[in-house]
């Protein structure tokens, strides 16, 4: 990449000190997602509270620093928010990632997750960043059933 490093300090921070990592009880739904092209995988659980707020997102998996850090940031951004709020964050993050570097990130919505903007230019890495987020979306849908 020119000019702007994909490895923002923040991403390395999350990679080295992942937030919320580990699988915990209780949970409403558990999913297992794999990126077949690069072998990255994640197991992810969500617990939704009675108030409709995300009480916990717990996860475990393996992969590159981008996929690991993305899961950590996901944990921070979702826990404590309503399901609806988190899904709009997921949508915005997905839009950013699939924008091939042409899309302006909405910092208001994304918070720390804007650090991943540089990833969008590398189609091969987009999937790394999205792995946990797609797993999260899937888990939330299942938890509502």
């Amino acid at each position: 990449m020119i000019g702007e490093s994909m490895y923002q300090e923040l991403i390395l921070e999350h990679y080295k000190h992942p937030q919320g990592r580990g699988l915990r009880e209780p949970y409403d739904a558990e999913v297992h997602h794999v990126n077949p092209t690069c072998g990255d995988e994640i197991t992810l659980r969500v617990k939704v509270g009675d108030s409709g707020k995300i009480e916990d997102v717990s996860y475990d998996g393996q992969g590159c620093s981008i996929s690991q850090a993305a899961a950590s940031v996901l944990y921070e951004l979702t826990t404590g928010s309503t399901v609806e709020e988190t899904l709009s964050v997921v949508d915005e993050f997905t839009r950013l990632m699939q924008g091939r570097g042409q899309v302006e990130a909405d910092e208001e919505v994304l918070g720390d997750a804007v650090a991943f903007a540089g990833v969008a230019k590398f189609p091969a890495r987009v999937k790394c960043a999205l792995l946990s987020w797609m797993a999260y979306k899937d888990a939330v849908v299942r938890s509502a059933r």
């Binding site: 990449m1 077949p36 092209t37 189609p123 091969a124």
Partner: protein, 422 residues
């Protein structure tokens, strides 16, 4: 100047080939764009610069050059999608030419699809099933379907052509057994623009899919695939001021997803084990191996170029050239036009015979003595020529860089040809 804002003299400055002089100081008069078009400096320079400074493989690379190439390649897909009004960029598949696009769709049909659970019944084809084309097709829209019929035992049928060079839709060519109808949007010999809506109506009534060979329409008219309402559209870069080595298949996403893969290899997979594979989502499912990267980027530049001038303006310019040429050719004794002789539903492609003179001789003398480049022969549409009882024609085809002065040169040339062989 033929329409507001369209300045052919300015356009001609963009095309380096026009700076060539033939021996004796003659200018080069290129009336063979239906065969392949010339390229503007904008396209050539885009390709040169990419090859020199930004080249890397796409998709799989994670370095500066790889990401620059990927961005430019996928950016070209966006441009092409917008150019033909594709509902989604993922419906645009890059092939090496229009022929590959047509073959790709033909290969989606077959009995082998009955085996797997994944087989979509719309692509199941076997004995008793029918494929419908027309007598005015280019060989690239005939032979793939002949080969499909041979592979599957299905029956190949076709619409005839009227004496005026129009599609003859009478008779019950399309039946309940018809699975696919594939016809030209515009004939590369007659210039005829076919009535897509009518063909579509007949096909839909029979539950058949419809493919359009738009190789001769996309370069010359505003084309919107969504408005056309067909299922597949094929066209080719080299006829639309783009480079060789790049073609396009547009297809409805839902159908592309239902189709089996065609060419297998790198980039078209999701995951591979020794005994089976899963495939990437469209469009990549149909782009096996390293694609024509720089060629797609060149096509993107071509689309930018055409868009900036405006397809409406290009169409209007060619229309006025065609009107001029129809008038001028009527004055040549012994000239027989093959195809519609009015401006109604036709493009700027004029094929004809000259009494008593073989087209090969016409074409060669025009080139030899006047630097006028036309095409002679059957133009990859032999059945159409058989239909008219002639082995070959001489064809003049126009594009945005042509002028009425060049049509005058053609007519002067034809008179000379008649003198040489008198």
């Amino acid at each position: 100047m033929t329409s507001a804002g369209f300045d052919v003299d300015r356009i001609r400055k963009d095309f380096p080939f026009l700076s060539r002089e033939l021996p004796g100081g003659r200018p080069l008069v290129y009336l063979d764009s239906g065969n392949s078009s010339q390229k503007p400096a904008q396209v050539i320079e885009t390709m040169r610069e990419h090859l020199a400074l930004h080249y890397g493989n796409v998709g799989r690379a994670m370095h500066v050059l790889g990401s620059e190439s990927t961005e430019a390649y996928e950016g070209a897909r966006d441009k092409v999608a917008a150019f033909v009004g594709a509902p989604s960029r993922d419906e645009v598949i890059f092939t090496k030419n229009a022929s590959e696009a047509l073959n790709l769709v033909a290969h989606a049909f077959g009995p082998h699809l009955w085996r797997g659970a994944e087989g979509d019944p719309r692509f199941a084809l076997g004995p008793g099933d029918e494929i419908v084309i027309s007598e005015m097709e280019h060989h690239s829209n005939i032979v793939p379907w002949q080969l499909l019929a041979q592979r599957t035992g299905a029956t190949l049928k076709w619409f005839g052509v009227t004496d005026e060079g129009r599609l003859d839709l009478s008779g019950d060519v399309i039946t309940e057994r018809t699975k696919i109808v594939s016809i030209a949007h515009q004939s590369n010999v007659l210039g005829t623009v076919n009535p897509v809506a009518e063909v579509l109506r007949l096909a839909r009534a029979a539950g058949a899919l419809v493919m359009l060979d738009a190789s001769q329409s996309v370069p010359h008219h505003p084309v919107n695939v969504a408005e056309l309402g067909v299922d597949f559209v094929a066209f080719t870069g080299h006829k639309m001021v783009g480079p060789s080595g790049i073609g396009v298949l547009w297809g409805r996403r839902e159908l592309l997803e239902a189709m089996p893969p065609f060419l297998g290899g790198g980039e078209m997979i999701e995951a591979v084990w020794m005994d089976h594979s899963t495939y990437a989502p469209v469009p990549h499912k149909f782009e096996a191996g390293t694609p024509p990267i720089v060629e797609a980027i060149g096509l993107g530049a071509a689309v930018d170029y055409l868009t900036e001038i405006g397809m409406d303006a290009i169409e209007a310019h060619e229309r006025s050239l065609t009107a001029y040429a129809l008038d001028a050719l009527r004055e040549v004794p012994g000239l027989r036009l093959i195809g519609p002789d009015s401006l109604d539903l036709r493009g700027g492609t004029l094929s004809f015979t000259l009494e008593g003179i073989h087209p090969h001789d016409v074409g060669q003398i025009l080139d030899d003595s006047f630097g006028v480049a036309v095409r002679v022969g059957h133009h990859c549409a032999r059945p159409l020529h058989l239909r008219f009882g002639i082995p070959a024609t001489t064809r003049a085809s126009f594009y945005l860089y042509n002028t009425t002065g060049e049509i005058d040169a053609l007519v002067r040339g034809l008179h000379h040809v008649q003198k040489v062989f008198a």
